[in-house]
């Protein structure tokens, strides 16, 4: 039973990590129907930015709390700036293009950004400073849940709640949903579609950046390639949960994380990804639009 709980907690942590990235994925997909392969790179850039800022600050002797706040804000600001710029350069000109063209543009962007960071910084792995200290009150259960696990979990939950609220009830949220469903009509009710799309990219990127910082601090290292696998996994999770749905992204991530954890624990980690993808196929067969995705309303 202990073992089960341990694996369960591992799975939840992993899921929460995926969720932080998956939320941005799902938002961007929801609004422009684009699998934004560059989202993983935004996450990576967020991690790098926070790494650079945190290291500079710690060299100049700032206190830990200040470092966390400033590095987090910087990561969010710059990642958002990247997200915003990428949308303008690589996706906006393709709004009326065939459906797959922006996808290829995104793949190109992803390759470009990886190599940009590789060249501007380094190909090596860099030690990421431990931003989240071990909390004393966590010590009794530290062998199961660590402090950074806890912080990630709380962040994910808070972010999900805020986002769900924003999308459901605020003006910008309504504008996002309307834009997602019918862009022409959104324009006709007075929504500035360009701004809404930009806002989506900015929010999604900021989330990825926060995720980047927390996850890098949890893992303890970064390099230019970390965005790729994380991105693919987060995308899988977003689809599993029903792409476009905020709670879906979180649920999908948790299911994915738990599956991988239990697969590792009870079967073999050799095949953890096989289990993850097999589960994905299985769920989609029975629920073709994901766990919480709405069935596309097809009225003929």
């Amino acid at each position: 039973m202990d073992y089960f709980i341990e694996l369960f907690c591992s799975g939840i942590t992993r899921g929460a990590i995926y969720a932080l990235i998956a939320l941005g994925y799902t938002m961007v997909y929801g609004i422009i129907g684009l699998i934004n392969f560059a989202h993983g790179e935004i996450y990576m850039i967020g991690a790098f930015t926070s790494f650079i800022v945190a290291t500079v600050l710690s060299i100049y002797g700032f206190p830990l709390l200040a470092i966390i706040v400033v590095a987090g804000v910087a990561a969010a600001v710059w990642s958002s700036a990247y997200g915003f710029t990428i949308e303008k350069i690589a996706y906006k000109p393709l709004r009326h293009a065939p459906r797959l063209s922006p996808l290829i543009s995104a793949i190109g962007m992803s390759i470009f950004l990886q190599n940009y960071v590789l060249l501007a910084q380094t190909s090596d792995f860099l030690p990421f400073p431990e931003l989240i200290p071990d909390f004393a009150f966590m010590e009794p259960i530290a062998h199961i849940v660590g402090s950074s696990d806890l912080v990630i979990l709380i962040t994910t939950t808070v972010v999900m709640i805020i986002l769900t609220f924003v999308i459901k009830f605020t003006r910008i949220g309504k504008a996002m949903r309307a834009t997602a469903q019918d862009r022409t009509m959104a324009m006709l009710v007075g929504i500035n579609v360009n701004n809404v799309i930009s806002a989506t990219f900015i929010i999604g990127s900021a989330l990825a950046a926060i995720g980047g910082m927390l996850i890098a601090s949890h893992i303890g290292q970064i390099n230019f390639y970390i965005g790729f696998i994380a991105g693919i996994k987060a995308f899988t999770a977003a689809v599993l949960g029903g792409i476009g749905s905020i709670p879906g992204a979180v649920l999908g991530s948790l299911v994915l994380g738990l599956t991988e954890s239990f697969a590792t624990g009870y079967v073999s980690s050799d095949y953890e990804d096989v289990f993850a993808f097999a589960l994905l196929v299985l769920i989609l067969i029975f629920k073709p639009s994901g766990l919480l995705g709405k069935d596309e309303t097809q009225k003929v």
Partner: protein, 401 residues
């Protein structure tokens, strides 16, 4: 031509990029030694670079507009030229003749290296044509196409390794097994639409790769299979140069066969059904088309080509391991199809030649190679979103008897 306003905007954009790239380009930290390196010169390079790029883009846009204004009604650009040639059967035959002779003498004009990468490019042309059936014609987004390629490659590698089966014997087997894998994948995912299909195929591709990686007894795991036979030439074992030459001609022949078949498929009852399915599934079913069957056939046929090319791949490199069959490979093949122009055979050929030869010729840029590759991919999509060569519309001439 450049107004003050334009210049001001360009300067602002440059400044924005300086801000954007500031942490990554300017600061470099060493967390162990606790040193910070401020590389201010990089900021300057970014500013100048972006300024120039933007000026260049504006300049070309301006010129294009001027041109368009001048000759408003004649819509002749390079694409129209290709179309004109393709539409006129005489011109087409002449062009085909010229092309064919060029292709045949190619290895004698260029060195082995060029021939070698040309083989790779041709392989990707065929892969692209295969995926084009699935994505371009039937409209099923497949991000795991590389799985079928792997099935083909491993079929040959394993059958050759264990049973000493030759290239020609495995060629159809590899294709057949891949097609079977295509149907296997097709069955469960038929119900899925659009991007849900994409992620499942991506997952399928990963599953195949992971199995190859983990199941040592079957696939020899990550260390791969080496010393795979190159194709024999009537029982003779050729030298390296000659076998490259031989493979080149095999590939050419195979490509011609592929084009022939794909072209015929496209203009058949089945091809029409694929296109209709892509356009509107519900209407398609209401017209009596069996969605399942039609989709499965598309999957199987696409996979078949991938499998056959996989066999050739294994024979060419003589060594294979799972590292060759990653998602990125699928992404490149998909890029070929989209970049070339979905559904267009000529487009796919161009797309493959560009995307495969480009990184090779970009070798001169050394470490900037992949950076440039990514940027070019984006630029090509932005400036030619519909692909290099759009599909020629088939028109039917109707003669009453």
């Amino acid at each position: 031509m450049f107004t003050l306003k334009e210049i001001k905007k360009t300067v602002l954009i440059s400044l924005w990029f300086v801000f954007l790239t500031f942490p990554l380009m300017v600061i470099k930290v060493d967390p162990i030694e606790k040193t910070v390196l401020w590389r201010w010169h990089n900021a300057l390079y970014v500013a100048i670079g972006i300024f120039c790029i933007r000026c260049l883009i504006e300049f070309f846009r301006h010129r294009k507009q001027q041109k368009e204004k001048k000759k408003k009604n004649s819509s002749d650009d390079s694409q129209a030229l290709i179309h004109r040639i393709l539409v006129d059967p005489r011109k087409r035959n002449i062009m085909l003749g010229v092309l064919l002779s060029l292709v045949v003498i190619f290895p004698f004009v260029f060195d082995t290296y060029q021939t070698n990468i040309m083989i790779t490019a041709l392989m990707y042309v065929v892969l692209g044509l295969g995926l084009n059936i699935v994505v371009g014609m039937a409209g099923l987004l497949d991000l795991g196409f590389v799985a079928f390629y792997a099935v083909g490659a491993y079929s040959y590698a394993l059958l050759n390794h264990h049973f000493g089966l030759g290239f020609w014997a495995v060629l159809p087997i590899g294709g057949g097994l891949a097609a079977f894998a295509g149907i296997l994948l097709g069955f469960p995912v038929l119900r899925l639409r659009g991007d849900y299909l994409a992620i499942v195929t991506l997952g399928f591709g990963e599953i195949i790769r992971l199995i190859l990686e983990n199941w040592n007894e079957f696939s020899m795991g990550p260390s791969g299979i080496s010393n795979i036979d190159r194709p024999y030439f009537f029982g003779i074992n050729l030298s390296l140069e000659h076998s490259i030459l031989y493979l080149y001609y095999i590939m050419i022949l195979f490509l011609i066969v592929t084009i022939f078949i794909v072209n015929r498929l496209q203009n058949s009852r089945l091809g029409r059904a694929w296109i209709a399915l892509r356009e509107d599934e519900i209407a398609c079913q209401a017209m009596g088309i069996d969605k399942r069957k039609t989709k499965l056939v598309a999957f199987a046929l696409g996979a078949f080509w991938a499998g056959v090319v996989g066999v050739i791949f294994a024979a060419k490199t003589t060594f294979i391991n799972p590292a060759s069959f990653t998602f990125l490979e699928s992404a490149i093949i998909l890029s070929i199809v989209v970049l070339g122009g979905m559904g267009s055979i000529v487009g796919v050929i161009f797309g493959a030649l560009i995307l495969i030869l480009l990184p090779e010729y970009l070798r001169a840029l050394s470490e900037y190679r992949m950076l440039a590759f990514g940027a070019i991919l984006v630029a090509m999509m932005v400036f030619r979103p519909q692909g290099l060569i759009s599909k020629i519309r088939r028109t039917y001439t109707f003669k009453q008897e």
